[in-house]
Every structure is written in structure tokens, then in C-alpha cells.
Symmetry: C2
Subunit: 399 residues, 2 copies
């Protein structure tokens, strides 16, 4: 087990009806709220009206700030920061999925920083000499009501946003900072009943890859951690199938929401050298195509797995055996591990997720651009070091 420092201050209110505690959780921070949301899903299914009623009943005023795009963009972040200043906002409320939460985090830190908050993102992976001056030291308090299970943004310190500028390659970048931890997140599984099958499935792939990124590690002596992640993955597989058939299966929706919550948590990254290479590669694909992130991960991750299996075959054999209960039948680690990878692809396919770029409608011509851009911060990978030609091989193998 690797040494680690863990600190996770977010308060979680989990379960059916917890949304009713929204106002009392906001009030310690003030009465002037920036209400950040996507648009369609929460408007169509009554969540917007419930939130508005809860705020009104508690005499909390809000500035309506809808229209956050999936793969959220900096233009909304800048608008949100301006609103915080103009309206003297006390608190940022994010209602939606990871895009909304990530946008809220960037606005919250931007409103309390005297520099362009984009710099915090653009400097994060680039090792620039004066990066220190572009690290936010504080943020407005944030609360989240999560309506999708997948990203885990409701319980992590990460924000990923895209600078979407016509005529230049869009930049999709992350920043990790403890000031991003929400003060509270409300996780009510019933709010996910109305997600489409595709949104549900992409969230399932996304949360699984969060566990994968910490599971396919070269760290040794991680028995507790391995078993925890294997248990999470088995639960997601069982419950994922259930919610696609019965979207209002509360028990299964709750398991998925719980699994997503912990998938990016401070706990899940303890004790191992983390990966995240597949995530960084995927960010380049979505920056070029605006593809759904979970869908992109479902295509890239198995391609990465097949490429790196030879660097630690026993880990993949364990995955096949523990997560998928595949018997060894006299086979070596690589053969067994490959069956585990194929089971993963089959499972995601069974949820209706495209399994390659062609099915996902991604033009293969962008793959070399994505590979080149993925390497612009230097060599990638902790499980296996990857150069541009490795990344390109991975991407092309998923055509």
C-alpha cells in the first residue's frame, strides 16, 4: 500500500426525500444563491420546480443560471463569475450531473480569485514555473443536488471544463483543488429514474472506469483496496443491468448512486499510484468531438486494457476471476485477463453502449490529432508509460 493523505470534508445526504433538506443545508452560508443547472432534464421532470419551491419556502433568493452544456464550457463559467460579483452571491447551488457540478466549482473558485480561472486549468498538467500564482486559494461555498450517477463530481475535488473556441483546438482540462469540495451533496436515487437509457448506461461506464483507474495499478499489497473495488464493480454490473430494464428500481438506482459517489472519492484514490491515462486521452476526444464522456471512456478503456495487459498480466487475470467469476481452465494470465476485458465490452454493449468509434460516429481522422494533443504535457501513464505512437495505437484499435 502506498502512503497517502486523505481529507474529504463534503457532507452527503443520501436517499429518497433528502432533497427536502436542501434549504437548511444552504442557510448557514447565506440567502443569495446562484442556481446552476443544465436545462432539459431537470425542467422536464419537475426537479426544477421542486428546487424553486424549497428555496422560496425558506426565503432564499436565487439567480437562475441554466443552460450548462455537457462537456461544460468556459463561457458559462465566465458568465457565472460575473453574476457572482454583480449579484453578491453567497452560495452556488449545482443541480444536475457532473457537468453542472464542475461548472459550479469553476465559478466558485473564479469568483474568489483575482486571476483568470482558466489559468488554473491550463497550468495544472503543464509544469509551468509560476503555476503557484494560478492556484485558487478559496472558493464560494458549493452545494450539489445530483440527478445522474456517474461522474462522482458531487464528492470529489476535481473540475473538468472546456475552452471552446472556434477555429482553434478546444482545450478540455482539469483542475484538482480542495476548495472544490462541495459543502454538501444531496444524492436522491429517485431523481435518476427519468434519465434516458443511454444517459444511465454512459454513467455506469463512467463510474466503472473510475474504479478501473485505481485498480489497474502497479502498486502492490493492496488487498483491502482491491476487494473494495471488485465489490463495487460487481455491484455496478448487477445493478446496471437491472436499471436498464426497470428504470424505477429504487434499490438498484441507490446502489449505483452510492457506487458513483465513492468512485471518485478521496477514499478510492488512497493507497495506490493512480492511473487516469484513459481519462486524459478521452478528454482529447471529447474536446474534438463533444462526445459523451462516459461513452468515450467505454470505448477507450478496453483498448487501453488490451494494450497494457502484458505489463502486469496477473492484475488482469485477477480482474477476470474476481469481478467476472471466469474460471481459469488451465489458461495463463493473459488469456484469462483478455476474457475479462471482452466481458467488460460485452457488458457495456448489453447496456446499449457503442463499442467502437465507428458505432459512436467519431471520424477516425481525428484520432492522430487526439493522440498528439494527449502527449502535449509529456509522457503519459503510471501502469505503463505511453508515447504518442502508443496512444495512437490504442485509439486506432477501437475503430
Amino acid at each position: 500500500m502506498e502512503n497517502f493523505v486523505y481529507h474529504s470534508p463534503t457532507k452527503i445526504l443520501f436517499g429518497n426525500g433528502q432533497i427536502n433538506n436542501l434549504a437548511q443545508e444552504i442557510l448557514p452560508y447565506g440567502r443569495k444563491v446562484l442556481f446552476v443547472y443544465g436545462e432539459k432534464h431537470i425542467r422536464q421532470h419537475g426537479v426544477y420546480d421542486r428546487i424553486v419551491n424549497l428555496l422560496q419556502d425558506a426565503d432564499i433568493s436565487w439567480i437562475d443560471f441554466g443552460g450548462v452544456h455537457p462537456n461544460p464550457r468556459m463561457d458559462m463559467v465566465y458568465k457565472g463569475i460575473d453574476l457572482c460579483h454583480e449579484e453578491k452571491i453567497d452560495f452556488i447551488l449545482a443541480v444536475g450531473g457532473g457537468s453542472v457540478s464542475d461548472t459550479a466549482k469553476a465559478i466558485a473558485a473564479g469568483a474568489k480569485s483575482d486571476f483568470d480561472i482558466w489559468n488554473a486549468f491550463s497550468d495544472f498538467l503543464r509544469r509551468v514555473p509560476d503555476a503557484e500564482k494560478n492556484i485558487p486559494r478559496e472558493a464560494l461555498p458549493i452545494g450539489v443536488v445530483i440527478t445522474k450517477a456517474g461522474t462522482g463530481s458531487e464528492f470529489d475535488l476535481t473540475s473538468v471544463v472546456t475552452k471552446w473556441e472556434e477555429g482553434t483546438p478546444h482545450e478540455k482540462l482539469l483542475h484538482m483543488n480542495p476548495v472544490f469540495y462541495p459543502r454538501f451533496s444531496i444524492c436522491d436515487p429517485t431523481l435518476t429514474y427519468t434519465l434516458s437509457a443511454a444517459q444511465t448506461a454512459y454513467g455506469i461506464a463512467d463510474m466503472m472506469t473510475h474504479y478501473f483507474e485505481q485498480y489497474f495499478s502497479q502498486s502492490e499489497n493492496t488487498e483491502y483496496l482491491d476487494r473494495m473495488k471488485e465489490g463495487a464493480l460487481k455491484t455496478i454490473i448487477t445493478c446496471g443491468t437491472r436499471v436498464i430494464s426497470y428504470p424505477e428500481d429504487y434499490a438498484a438506482r441507490a446502489e449505483l448512486m452510492y457506487a458513483a459517489l465513492w468512485s471518485c472519492s478521496a477514499q478510492n484514490i488512497t493507497g495506490v499510484i493512480p492511473e487516469w491515462t484513459s481519462h486524459f486521452i478521452e478528454h482529447e476526444i471529447t474536446a474534438l468531438t463533444d462526445l459523451n464522456h462516459g461513452l468515450g471512456m467505454a470505448i477507450i478503456f478496453p483498448a487501453w486494457m488490451k494494450y497494457v495487459i502484458g505489463d502486469h498480466p496477473a492484475r488482469f487475470a485477477r480482474y477476470a476471476s474476481e469481478v467476472w467469476n471466469i474460471p481459469r481452465n488451465g489458461r495463463g494470465d493473459i488469456e484469462l485477463g483478455m476474457e475479462g476485458i471482452h466481458k467488460t465490452i460485452e457488458f457495456w454493449s448489453s447496456l446499449g453502449i457503442p463499442t467502437n468509434w465507428s458505432e459512436a460516429g467519431v471520424d477516425p481522422d481525428i484520432l492522430p490529432i487526439a493522440a498528439k494533443r494527449a502527449l502535449r504535457f509529456g509522457t503519459m501513464g503510471t501502469f505503463k508509460k505511453l508515447e504518442e505512437e502508443d496512444v495512437l495505437h490504442i485509439l486506432k484499435s477501437a475503430c
Copy 2:
């Protein structure tokens, strides 16, 4: 899954060498420390000297407050509170096991309360009409350096202390309060190398019962949580055997310290109706005998399991099958579950833990007194409701 609220603000510094960060973690809170510890273990094995050097080097002054007894007592708590006032203490540093940490928590809250802090403990399970006035609202900040793996006090909101008065039944009671969360806990597995085999084994039994108390629950649809606990228990079983044979097996010591950390954590109690009945019964035994808590738990828990198995046989069958890999071989849930219980007793016995009151040197005459006292706050149990005769039956079955 049951609804829950989760909030766990303690920062954890985990791994070999993390003790070197002690001073920088204390300094944000002040420079005048009450240094609380047991005595023998940390004095004999150089931990005391290391702490003192770290404090000196950082120009942090401290009041030495050693001599905390296992099953810690209120007289030390009162002395500590007086010292906090007399010496204008900024911060309480606990170095040792759960007894030291629990003492520090009681002192920290007592120093900031204008009532006798014992009332917070004596009122906690007793439903008294004016209990509100005896709930501490703040506490001095606490930091922990843990030198034993077992209680999980380094990462929870609970303190258990004993009012030890000659001539009256001693009262061992708990109080749970968010003000008890340590600001940080340093978990360095190498500090547990020098524990005796018995101390190590009792800690193993203790942490296992923390998982049991949340696993043997009547709550349904808890797949993620069940798998997490089963994984923890399997890890503890494997690594427990290893550390008894090789006390300096870092990897196994680290797994046990990690498992203990989460065993009483805010996470481990999410999503289920918790039990804790066996813990409450054990507190009465130790109040009467000053027995080691982990040892007491190792005797009571299997007795409780055998008594309640009929109330949810499938749960015990799952335990036998998932934790101990016992094949069903055509047997019913109760028969399979009973084999799981026997495996648990065998395992603890293999670590050198006494398996009944006689081996532990407990006079059977105290059992009726313990049963009577255990019920003084009303009916016990969530998995199965227990009256005095039930508790007495459980206790006597372990003679």
C-alpha cells in the same frame, strides 16, 4: 439501502514516516499542547522520544499527560480538563490506542463545556428529558497518532469512558458527537510492530466486530456495503494470521491499520440500521472486570451470533459463504451459517484469543449483573430485540 447522512472531516496521514508531519499538522491550531498517552508501550519503543523531538524542533510546548489506563477512566479526563484550563492548552495530542484517543476526546469537549462532561456520557443512552443541555457544542482540536490497530477511534465521532468508583458498579458509557472527530490522525503501520501478540490479536477481533455490527443487519438491498465489509473481513483474516507470525510484515500491518481505520468510520455505518448490541453488552463486562475490550468482543460476538441466527439465517449463510468460502454442500442456511460462526471462533483462537469466560478468567457470577445492567436503558437490539433473559442466555452460553 437506508437513507443516511455522512460527514467525516478528519484528515488521515497514512504510511511509514507520516509521523514526521506531526508538527506541521498541529501548528495551525496553536503551540501549547496537552500530550496524552498511555505509558508503557510508547515509552519502551521510542515513540515518546520521537514525538518529543518533533514538538521541540517545531517550538511547540507541551504538558506531559501520561498514564491513561485501558478502558480509560473519568479521573484522568477530569485531570486533563483542569490542565487545559490551567495551562491554556490550544490542542490535544493523543498518542496510543483507542483508550488514549477516547480520553483526549472527552477532555477536549470537557474543556469547552460549562457542565460536567460525564453527563454527556451518562445521558447519551438514557433518554432524559433535558439531555440537550448536556451535549457538548464544541471541543478543543484533537490530533491522534495511533499505535494500535483496532478501535477506529482515530477516525470516528465516539468516545467510551468509564466512571470507576470503588464500592459502586463502574459505569462504562459512550458519547457520539461530531465535535469528537480528530482534526487529523497519523496512521503509521510501523508503530504497531512492537505490540504484543495478544494486543495485536485483540485489535483484530475488535475491528472485525465493528464490521460485523454493520453487516449483521436486517437492512435489505445493501450489495455494495456487504461486499465492502466482506472484502474488509477477508483482508483482516489473511493479514491477521500474517502479523501474528511476522510482527514486522509492513504490508499486513498496513492492511490491518487501514481496515481498522474504516471499521468505525462514518462510511462503514452508511446505509444500514446498525447493531452495536454486542458492544453495549461487552461494555458492561469490562465495567465489572476491566477486561480487554477486543477480548470481550471475541467472546460475546459469536455467542450473540448463535443466539440470533434464526432471525435472518440467509445473512449468516452469506457470511459463511462469502467471507469463509465454505461450500453449501446441500445444507440449509442455519447449518451453513453455524459453520461460519465456528470458523470465526477458530480463527480468533488461532491468534491466541481465549474463546470463553473461563479461559479469559472472568467470574461467571458477574454475568447476571452484566445482563441486568445492559438492559437499564431499555430493550436492546435492532437485528433482534433482546431482553434481560436473552442477554443472560448469550453471556452464559460463552462460559
